[in-house]
């Protein structure tokens, strides 16, 4: 008999905790629309048993996984099914296609595109260009590309915001992410407005790289890991030397850096994780602890439907965004049933996934139509593209809504100290 008895689980991503109950498969949005995908139980812990014996059991169908993590949310035994699948994909790399390299390198694409934004936006929107992309690159022709901004957020920040930030007594660093930088700087501007009103100076990290989520989804894990290490170094400096916690406005970037860096890429982020938060959570906590106060514009009126993005659901943080929205007196909030919109970052851009992507989102689109809101609020940028394209309803990040609803001057006065 062994000298000691193993009384705790020891496998990666709680693999051996699986009871084989199949509950995860009930909640997988992909398995619900296509039988080509065997579902999380089979692709995850069941398949893993075989893959551990012989890698030849790896199944190409695993690339159909969206990495939405809804299986993990449903699993009663805390098996990190999505992580098991991601790691299996990582261990069976395929040479990424040119299209996937382009879609994945959000910052390279962004840098090129913002410098020629009007031309790029125009060409990306043109029918013949879409047809060529469809045929040669495999980017679905139905997709509208998110428009590129003509000025990067970082450029705007350096010209218009950087000088005044040191004057505040409290400070945060802002990980803006590729989307704010290249496609939608307004969200970054809104974040600066809100945090400044609350008495916080907002700073950029010494070096910010794309969080790597798109690289991971497209099989470029080595590059993702290098970028992740760079981000962790900048964040360590911000936390330890500058004493500035880091906030973000993207649920997916946050989730990737807090959880997937460790679980999938093997980056040690333990010292950073608790100092890295979504702005909605950070602000909620300040209010809950009585550290800041908000004053609202009495004329503000808005009817909003909140959509829980998959990674927001996985983090368990949607409550912070909805609680924050509920504080706004003129805001009527409808909470949509939490379900996947189908885009999953770059997944829905690929021709081979377009149909499934839209089928997955159909339930959400229908719910939005029925709720008939002025705006949909969500914490994820790719959900924004998908929902705007599929329903025509404009989508805002809760921070942008907060920026519109605040009486900024009054809030500033309330938080002067």
């Amino acid at each position: 008999m062994a000298a000691t008895t193993q009384t705790t689980f020891a496998s990666a991503n709680n693999f051996e905790q699986c009871l084989k109950c199949s509950i995860c498969t009930v909640y997988c949005p992909v398995a619900a629309v296509t039988t080509a995908y065997p579902g999380p139980k089979q692709a995850g812990p069941d398949g893993e048993r075989y893959r551990l014996k012989d890698p030849k059991f790896y199944d190409e169908a695993l690339k159909l996984c969206l990495n939405c993590k809804r299986c993990e949310v449903a699993c009663p035994s805390e098996v990190r099914i999505g992580d098991i699948i991601q790691r299996a994909r990582m261990q069976h790399p395929q040479r990424p296609k040119l299209r996937d390299v382009l879609l994945a390198n959000t910052d390279v694409m962004g840098t090129m595109a913002t410098s020629m934004a009007p031309v790029v936006n125009l060409t990306l929107g043109m029918k013949p260009v879409k047809a060529v992309m469809n045929a040669t690159l495999g980017i679905d022709k139905h997709r509208t590309f998110p428009a590129y901004a003509s000025q990067k957020f970082e450029t705007w920040y350096r010209r218009h915001a950087a000088q005044t930030q040191e004057s505040f007594s409290k400070h945060v660093s802002y990980f803006h992410g590729c989307y704010v930088n290249y496609n939608y700087p307004q969200l970054g501007k809104d974040l600066v407005t809100v945090m400044n009103a609350l008495g916080y100076g907002v700073h950029l990290l010494e070096k910010e790289k794309c969080c790597g989520v798109a690289l991971m989804a497209n099989g470029m894990h080595e590059q993702a890991k290098r970028q992740g290490e760079t981000n962790m170094q900048s964040m360590r400096k911000s936390i330890n030397e500058l004493k500035r916690p880091i906030i973000t406005t993207s649920s997916t970037c946050t989730f990737t850096m807090r959880d997937e860096y460790d679980h999938v890429l093997g980056i040690d982020n333990r010292d950073v994780r608790d100092h890295l938060s979504l702005a909605a959570r950070f602000i909620y906590q300040l209010i809950d602890n009585g550290e800041v106060k908000l004053a609202f514009d009495p004329n503000f009126k808005m009817r909003v439907a909140y959509h829980t993005a998959c990674h927001m659901q996985r983090m368990g943080w949607a409550i912070f965004s909805t609680q924050l929205l509920r504080m706004i007196p003129g805001l009527e909030l409808i909470e949509l049933e939490s379900q996947c919109c189908g885009i999953a970052g770059t997944y829905g851009f690929k021709k081979e996934n377009y149909e499934n992507s839209q089928a997955i989102g159909a339930g959400l689109f229908q719910a939005i139509k029925e709720a008939d809101p002025q705006y949909v609020a969500t914490d994820c940028e790719t959900c924004k593209w998908q929902i705007e394209m599929s329903t025509g309803v404009p989508v805002l990040n809760p921070i942008s809504i907060l920026a519109q609803a605040l009486d900024v001057e009054k809030t500033k006065q309330l938080n002067q100290n």
């Binding site: 509950i23 039988t35 065997p38 805390e78």
Partner: protein
């Protein structure tokens, strides 16, 4: 973050309590660490099916004979009928039409084809008035490749009761694609395909081909997850069609879980799915706050807390090599001290560990170091004092203790 009541555990008891409190206007949060054991529910609720080895036809009446530490004693045997009616109304409001009543059991058919007494059964599922099957002959529909129904057991068990069984095999083309993924020919997966009206119509056509109008047809329930597919299929087939539960995850159970979660949220409840309560502060016999794995340093505060974390399978109580314990707050547990006394040799015996659970006072307050925690109640399968598998009272204990506690909380205000 503050609520009126916070419920730990999002299964049948937690949801019932959360709904009852929300109906009374309370601000309620449920923390649910993953989905729950309703997914293993066959679509029936049991109130009391067996006392001292005797199968029960009249549960309310028979409850008088229950052991002194049974949870029903703590909700009041005199209140059982009234609470049971309230539970049925609650299910109805959530959109779950169920037949049955607390005075008189009916008998449900289990996935292996034996009869068991039940209090409520979801419409569409086959039920009978007594343990003796009244049928002379039935036709069982067997779907090619379907892995979630042990039809040979059903056939044998029905035949043992003198029922003549005919098996009608179908292989509808709409499900051909699904058969390619052999491991996923499951009830819940097929139910998603059969949300589609055309798919349903072709299934109906297949059934009509192998049956006649005068037959009673029994079919595994692989449709009707969250839609009206059951009734739609019944309307499209010639024979009388009733459904049998399958192996888990079961469509009727998922349907119940989904409907209750929807209803709770519709009433304004906050359902924190996929988070887990990890700790709590108990001072002066009062729960001050709890913490969760995901909300981390954001403390959850409430006037009242309800523990509804289930039994061993859900981790509400845990057994290791030396002891049986309540893992979140270290509450008192009723369990034999000696490990050898936890189990009996025969698996189907009244296993002592099945009655282990959290100790409570007469009004279902959880005990810690012998003292009642004033604002912490325990409900459902986490409670000690009964064996649901033997006594056939699982869902009854879940729902009735939940309602009793909801009343105590709202009366206290």
């Amino acid at each position: 973050m503050k609520f009126d009541t916070i419920i730990i555990g999002g299964g049948l008891s937690g949801l019932t309590c959360g709904i009852a409190l929300s109906q009374k206007g309370q601000r309620v949060a449920i923390v649910a660490g993953g989905q729950n054991s309703l997914h293993f529910n066959a679509g029936s609720m049991e109130l009391l099916g067996n006392v001292d080895g005797e199968e029960i036809a009249h549960p309310v009446e028979a409850a008088q004979r229950l052991q002194p530490n049974h949870p029903y004693r703590k909700v009041g045997i005199d209140h059982l009928e009234e609470l049971a009616q309230e539970a049925k109304t609650l299910l109805d409001k959530a959109g779950l039409t169920m037949s049955g009543n607390a005075k008189e059991n009916h008998w449900r058919i289990t996935p292996i084809g034996v009869t068991k007494p039940a209090w409520l059964t979801l419409e569409g599922l086959a039920t009978v008035a007594s343990s003796q099957l009244p049928w002379k002959a039935v036709t069982l529909v067997e779907l090619e490749g379907f892995i979630d129904s042990p039809l040979q057991f059903v056939e044998t068990n029905l035949a043992a009761q003198g029922v003549q069984v005919k098996v009608a095999r179908i292989a509808p083309a709409v499900l051909t694609q699904a058969r390619r993924s052999a491991s996923e020919m499951r009830a819940t997966s097929l139910a998603k395909i059969l949300r589609n009206h055309q798919a349903l119509a072709s299934l109906a056509a297949e059934i009509n081909q192998v049956t006649t109008a005068d037959e009673l047809v029994l079919m595994p329930m692989f449709l009707g997850l969250d839609d009206d597919a059951l009734a739609a299929l019944q309307a499209q087939v010639k024979p009388r069609l009733a459904f049998l539960p399958t192996l888990p995850p079961m469509v009727p159970g998922v349907r119940i879980a989904t409907a209750l979660q929807h209803y709770f949220k519709m009433l304004g409840g906050t359902y924190l799915l996929g988070d887990k309560v990890v700790d709590g502060l108990i001072e002066d016999n009062t729960m001050r706050h709890i913490t969760t794995a995901k909300l981390q340093d954001v403390l959850l505060k409430a006037d009242n807390f309800v523990l509804a974390t289930g039994s061993f399978m859900s981790g509400g109580v845990v057994a290791d090599f030396t002891r049986i314990y309540e893992p979140v707050f270290g509450l008192d547990v009723e369990a034999p001290a000696n490990r050898a006394d936890w189990t009996l040799a025969e698996v189907m015996d009244d296993q002592p560990y099945m009655s282990c659970g959290v100790a409570t006072d007469d009004t279902l307050h959880a005990l810690k170091e012998g003292k009642a925690v004033k604002n912490l109640f325990a409900i459902g399968s986490v409670l000690s004092g009964h064996n649901a598998a033997v006594q056939g009272d699982g869902e009854g204990v879940d729902m009735l203790t939940a309602l009793a506690v909801a009343h105590r909380i709202t009366n206290r205000q």
